[in-house]
């Protein structure tokens, strides 16, 4: 039993990577999301078509497939590029950054839909009203659009964040030494797979619980002064 217990800190050390993975991916996803939503809403049809294609391709393909494609295919692409140009030496794509990039790239598509929806929920008449009282574009965005945007975007953002959190488990498949990877390692070392996998599951459940608390508090805060939503 004590041998089994000695693996617990080893597994829990993976929590750090899981957090880095989730926070890194969600930041990247927001970046991708903002640009994609802007492209989708822009009057330029080429940009908007490009954004739409990106979103529909991502939505049609499982996360795991894209992560493997980016991890293995990205490495090959870099090798081919290096060979073709002769500029670069051999570059190793490390598992962590490729996983962050893959998850960020995937959820950028989902985030862009959330951003677009929240932006479109703000009535156009407010822009005219802001112009008519002489507000600049920047002031309009900051004091009129932003507070409303937050209220509309938070529920969808929360959902995406919870899915990102759970998607980071796939990073263990491409060899990131995160919580799941370590739990599996400890499981085969001690022949107690149930305990360690369950431990990892409970950690995720804890993260979900904390995130839900955090988002409902934030939502209450940004909704101050709203009569109905």
């Amino acid at each position: 039993m004590s041998e089994t217990l000695s693996y617990v800190p080893y597994v829990l050390a993976g929590v750090k990577l899981t957090i880095i993975l989730s926070l890194g991916s969600v930041t990247l996803a927001c970046l991708f999301g903002v640009f994609t939503a802007a492209a989708r809403l822009s009057p330029n049809w080429f940009l908007s078509m490009l954004a739409q294609t990106y979103v529909s391709i991502i939505r049609g393909v499982p996360e795991l497939v894209l992560m493997l494609l980016i991890f293995f295919g990205g490495q090959m692409l870099l090798n081919d590029l290096a060979e073709l140009t002769g500029w670069l030496d051999h570059i190793d794509v490390d598992a962590l950054s490729s996983a962050i990039f893959a998850i960020g790239f995937i959820f950028g598509a989902y985030m862009s839909e959330a951003f677009r929806g929240a932006y479109l929920a703000i009535p156009k008449g407010q822009l005219d009203a802001a112009k008519s009282i002489g507000l600049s574009q920047w002031v309009y965005l900051r004091i009129i659009v932003w507070p409303q945007f937050l209220v509309h975007v938070l529920p969808a953002f929360r959902n995406n964040w919870l899915v990102i959190l759970k998607t980071t488990a796939f990073a263990s498949v491409v060899g990131v030494h995160d919580l799941v990877w370590r739990a599996k390692g400890a499981a085969s070392a001690t022949h107690k797979p149930f305990y360690f996998l369950m431990l990892a599951a409970l950690v995720y459940l804890g993260f979900t619980l904390v995130s839900e608390r955090f988002f409902s508090a934030t939502l209450r805060r940004v909704q101050r002064g709203w009569t109905s939503i």
Partner: protein
């Protein structure tokens, strides 16, 4: 993908039953079901599948039970994992739809002389199912995404074939891009079918 359709069909039936118990305020099953959906929705599917496939084998009791031949079969484990996971999501969707049925509809059908169970099966459930069609369509695509997890416990599905190509011949693009294209084809077909179903079953409801 047989796995996808079988899993979705079984989960839908189970979820309908769970949703009925979950949304009634008096049922003793309400809290256990809530706990179950919370756990399933709060933890990654990959871990749930690992727990079923690797985890359960830890216990002597399960290894010696008659269920063991089934639980040591990877494809049945993935099916079980997907069903358990997907049922939780579907339960939440359907119970949300059940709750949104106006009281007046239920009172109207009761006043027409339908019994409680008839009201439930002939009025409430069909309406809830029709109302949740758009959400079900999303969920179907989501289950399709989840079936890719099968390849992590050695089942050769679409992605499993792609991974095999990559591992044995170092063909990263070919295997994974083919897999991706196949998945997109399934997703597009499925969303067309759901759009048809929505036109047929959801559109008439919006004329109220």
């Amino acid at each position: 993908m047989i796995l996808l359709i079988v899993v979705f069909a079984i989960s839908l039936v189970l979820a309908l039953a769970l949703a009925v118990f979950r949304s009634s305020d008096t049922s003793v099953l309400r809290h256990p079901i809530k706990g179950y959906t919370y756990f399933m929705r709060g933890t990654p599917l990959l871990l749930q599948v690992y727990i079923i496939y690797y985890g359960l084998g830890q216990f002597e009791l399960i290894r010696s039970s008659i269920l063991w031949p089934f639980l040591s079969e990877a494809s049945l484990c993935i099916a079980l994992g997907l069903i358990l996971n997907n049922t939780a999501y579907l339960t939440e969707i359907i119970q949300g739809a059940l709750r949104e049925i106006p009281r007046s509809t239920i009172e109207a059908s009761r006043s027409l002389g339908l019994s409680r169970s008839k009201t439930l099966f002939l009025v409430e459930c069909p309406i809830a199912l029709r109302r949740s069609l758009p959400a079900l369509s999303n969920e179907f695509i989501f289950v399709m995404h989840s079936t890719a997890v099968a390849s992590t416990i050695t089942v050769i599905d679409i992605l499993g074939a792609g991974r095999k190509l990559n591992a044995s011949y170092y063909l990263a693009y070919e295997g994974f891009v083919t897999a991706a294209v196949l998945y997109i084809a399934i997703a597009v077909t499925a969303s067309q079918i759901f759009r048809m179903l929505e036109r047929r079953y959801l559109a008439p409801l919006s004329f109220r």
